[in-house]
Symmetry: C2
Subunit: 105 residues, 2 copies
């Protein structure tokens, strides 16, 4: 959990995940898409790997990174109890609106 949230706190890393959402991508390609040099990207990839957010596969000299969306399930689960709260608030808001409508009739 901690590792995943830590990984998500950086915008470059979130950009990487966004790219990988479309298709597996080599480290070099990812580096081109980011405004930083390749070694920096390598380290970001390491963080993502250690958080379990991506997988690597070797293809000749290239490393192909793929997204591992399951790793985000724990974030989703962490959100669970909070989701209930904000949905309750939204429900209350809807009720309020409904009551308002009724009152206006």
């Amino acid at each position: 959990m901690d590792a995943v949230l830590h990984a998500l706190a950086d915008e470059s890393r979130r950009t990487v995940l966004e790219i990988l959402r479309d298709r597996p991508t080599s480290a070099g390609e990812l580096a081109e898409a980011l405004p930083i040099a390749r070694p920096g990207v390598s380290r970001h990839l390491r963080v993502l790997r250690e958080a379990g957010l991506v997988d690597v596969r070797q293809d000749a000299q290239r490393r192909i990174y793929t997204l591992r969306p399951e790793a985000l399930v724990e974030v989703d689960e962490w959100l669970g109890p909070y989701r209930r709260l904000w949905q309750t608030r939204l429900d209350a808001l809807h009720t309020e609106i409904t009551r308002g409508k009724k009152a206006r009739r």
Copy 2:
């Protein structure tokens, strides 16, 4: 988005949110619940405030903090496209299991 994810990347801050999930709580009470001294907690509260994750209300000398779960909606929305992916994988897994069962018949 960035501010919220950054705020969530720290465990002390997540603990604060967890406490606030139950009930509004004063800064002092929050500080007692954490393993760090009060000024540190104050700073964490500031980060949470600036990310929109909590609200403060003044009650005499005390500051009462309340959770603002709506701020987490954007995290939920950010998860959206990824959620679809991991659900697809789960579906595939279920299909696989079903096929396995069928094969075993």
